[in-house]
Symmetry: C3
Subunit: 394 residues, 3 copies
Amino acid sequence: MARLGGCWAFLCRCFFQYETPKILLIRSKKVGALNRLVQALILAYVIGYVCVLKKGYQDTDSVLSSVTTKVKGVALTNSSQLGLRVWDVADYVIPPQEESSFFVMTNLIVTMNQTQTRCPELPSSSTNCSSDKDCSAGFVDVRGNGVQTGKCVNFSDSARTCEVFAWCPVETDSEPPNPAVLANAENFTVLIKNSIQYPKFSFGRRNILPDVNTSYLRNCIFDRKRDPHCPIFRLGDIVSEANEDFQSMAVHGGVMGIHIRWDCDLDMPESWCVPKYTFRRLDNKDPDNNVAPGYNFRFAKYYKVADNVETRTLIKGFGIRFDVMVFGKAGKFSVVPTLLNIGAGLALLGLVNVVCDWVVLTFMKKSNLYKEQKYSYVDDYALVSTSHQFHLFL
Amino acid sequence: MARLGGCWAFLCRCFFQYETPKILLIRSKKVGALNRLVQALILAYVIGYVCVLKKGYQDTDSVLSSVTTKVKGVALTNSSQLGLRVWDVADYVIPPQEESSFFVMTNLIVTMNQTQTRCPELPSSSTNCSSDKDCSAGFVDVRGNGVQTGKCVNFSDSARTCEVFAWCPVETDSEPPNPAVLANAENFTVLIKNSIQYPKFSFGRRNILPDVNTSYLRNCIFDRKRDPHCPIFRLGDIVSEANEDFQSMAVHGGVMGIHIRWDCDLDMPESWCVPKYTFRRLDNKDPDNNVAPGYNFRFAKYYKVADNVETRTLIKGFGIRFDVMVFGKAGKFSVVPTLLNIGAGLALLGLVNVVCDWVVLTFMKKSNLYKEQKYSYVDDYALVSTSHQFHLFL
Amino acid sequence: MARLGGCWAFLCRCFFQYETPKILLIRSKKVGALNRLVQALILAYVIGYVCVLKKGYQDTDSVLSSVTTKVKGVALTNSSQLGLRVWDVADYVIPPQEESSFFVMTNLIVTMNQTQTRCPELPSSSTNCSSDKDCSAGFVDVRGNGVQTGKCVNFSDSARTCEVFAWCPVETDSEPPNPAVLANAENFTVLIKNSIQYPKFSFGRRNILPDVNTSYLRNCIFDRKRDPHCPIFRLGDIVSEANEDFQSMAVHGGVMGIHIRWDCDLDMPESWCVPKYTFRRLDNKDPDNNVAPGYNFRFAKYYKVADNVETRTLIKGFGIRFDVMVFGKAGKFSVVPTLLNIGAGLALLGLVNVVCDWVVLTFMKKSNLYKEQKYSYVDDYALVSTSHQFHLFL
């Protein structure tokens, strides 16, 4: 019984105890100043940089976004091939809707009334021929327009090429018209509606801000200075803000990035969370180390004429694809990253002792005095009580 | 030789030494209890919150996803303009395939047999005219349908507007039919196939789970309670789960988000990693601070009639765009974040001493006794041995 | 005055002081070796794993990307239904452009000359009938082709099915042709242009590397060994690199992922930042727990024939959708993560003392000697001055 009581008292003693390091307190102007300086530096870093600048006390989330676009505008063209023609949004936006990008055709090469039949291929090193022997029936060139029939026929008065079975006549692979056919696309406008969410914080917002009224929206055009929150953009402005020339870009086409950045500090009022628009050309306009510069693709309109024969109008459409890219980061106070940073900051405060000890025990005149006070020794080599040995050394 | 040996011995001594702080062990119920309490709090935070709740021991990766969709359903409409007509998937899904979204047309305004010619523009403040002087040839209104010819013509018995060169007749800019033409789209179904990957962990999974059999898949319809893993959704259910009314949404169109969340703990059995579906309306249905509410776009079908004249049927299609958004985070045990968190946790344990020392040395009755034991002093000011000075003070 | 001076001196004394823990230095081969070993292990982890392997000193950013694609190739088909026909890019890429994916049709079921009229539905358990009573007028099956008229008509000599109002004749729901109609798509090529950005570091790059010249680009084909940086891919190569068979995939279609990984260490020369291409099949080709295997969708070409009657050609297109997925992470030296990791590393060094103290004070023969030197005691239980008590013990 007494034994048990003793055991219990021992456990109590172990539990109700507190270990605190023994401290040597050096009162010295030099050492103290050094100490406070190093402390101040580390505190300044932890508070200033981690907390204020980098917002290390916040948990972050990245954005989920949905974009819809609507282009408006009409252009008139007059070419020998198509005659006088007006182009509206159903004609020049292809496909009519996409998820977060839109394509506006600015230039085109039209090949009308193609049918499935035989015709001479375009002249090139692999299609030029002088007799049927130069052409092999069934051969398909991956860069050609059709399947060779094995005959050599007149392409023009001067050139003979292999005949192909293809959509004929084949498209003449020439440079696109310059200036661009739909040069007027510069004045088209696009309404971009963007709705974002930060799922971790259940926070949603739209690029049409709550304090903007409807009548303003009907007539505004985005302008970085005067109308920075208007969601309607003139295509020409988008391109010129990216320091590009719309008219020269319109000829061969290209890809423009419309970047919408939503950097939101959710510890601040919600109305501070506004989108920031920037524009950038994404494709490479340099002719060097480039292939197929600009942006174009081919599509066709299919018709059936008399006798049920299918014909098509092939269009090589050059134009500008606008990719709307939404990105950003929301931050909100959270306990985990805060304590992670405080923990790391405290650990850095441990550096104070490392630095100061090194200076104090190495460079100070009285370093021996400090050493004597700071250190006790247990020396296995000498197998004598340390402090005696130490005094003997002195 | 003796010297070298001495030097070597000195280096050995430096290397084979161990610095451990001298500790003052205070055995006191009050102090001990305080100590254990603060320790317990910090340990509870580190273990409970960081490790269990926030899974701070895991490395995370975000999802890479691929989505395919397939809509099914047929709707019958009967209008004076189009007559009796049946609509199938090739008619109402435009474009026929997209990467991770699909559009279902629910309502439409059709303008048939448009050709490139001249006709009166719709009446508006900028197109109303009383004589040719009010119209300027070549003027293009960005919100208009064509290019003004400079003539003022009768739009109706009562109104005169400027004539335009355009696809004529121009679309009458009226409200869409209500109820929606394809109101039956509510019963259409969509099969969503989603395949995800966490590239960092080489982990892939599909939303058709391995334990689901094929015959079930042919007939099931998603239901949050009874069939939560069926990948076939009724469009009406998607909209009503988001607390919206399909029939009123169908009139002007809108954008729905289908969110698929893959939160996977890869330390757990793979079969616990299942997708969670939620639905949300993404566009703004409020008429305030809004412009062009709903979702619609224009597209055309082009025909060639006799004499090679191109005509088109312009369709302003209203409908619901469903954006499939896949997100989520996978976590798996990893050494770096674990040790980062342990390190930060240990540093936080350093807080125990800060708190306890402050309490013990400030508020305890016996604080002077503790101070005396904890601190030694080297005082440059007095230039006397500290311990003597200290004893003198006492 | 003297008081104030004294107060000031006291504050000075507090400010200009430096607390450093008192250290017990144990000089012992065993203890020293243990100490150095644990230190070495922790340092090796911090430096080797966190800094070198995981690059813990870097801030990271994820990629923003823009992709354009251009398919080339021609295929010849010969079927009883369509006759001899050549297919080019405008025929088999649907829609003609997408944001970061492209679809190449490899197989198709064509239903020509559909008009809006009445015809027998395909036989199935819900459409087979023996008399008009079995059919209900107005009934729409979500998996059917049209709206039932209520009549039971002959589907073939042997089968009778309910009549539907639909696009007639309805598509025969048969298996797609095997081998695939456009089997030659294996030889098509695609040019993929990818432009990426790391917005946090204002760093941009293209997959056409600056040191590649234009004439090389015109003729190269991607090959993992010989041409790893050529942006032109043969479709057959993409599929076979993913260990799939193109010809069998072409029959029912499928989804391929083209993964472009941009892992860039921006502390290194920019030219080390190159894209890495991998290919993977994304859809499930197993017939088990699957529904609608492969990838297909329906689209139609609309025609107007004589008398203004609209007809259409319905195409069920099977093919391969290629999803270009761009991902990656850029890292660049940054102060915050570096110090966060150093802080955590230092805190881990604190573990050295925990481990060594435990070993030294528990297992060493001379542990009593060490304890005696390391610890001082203040014992509230005995209510005697600790050092006296301690000396008495000795």
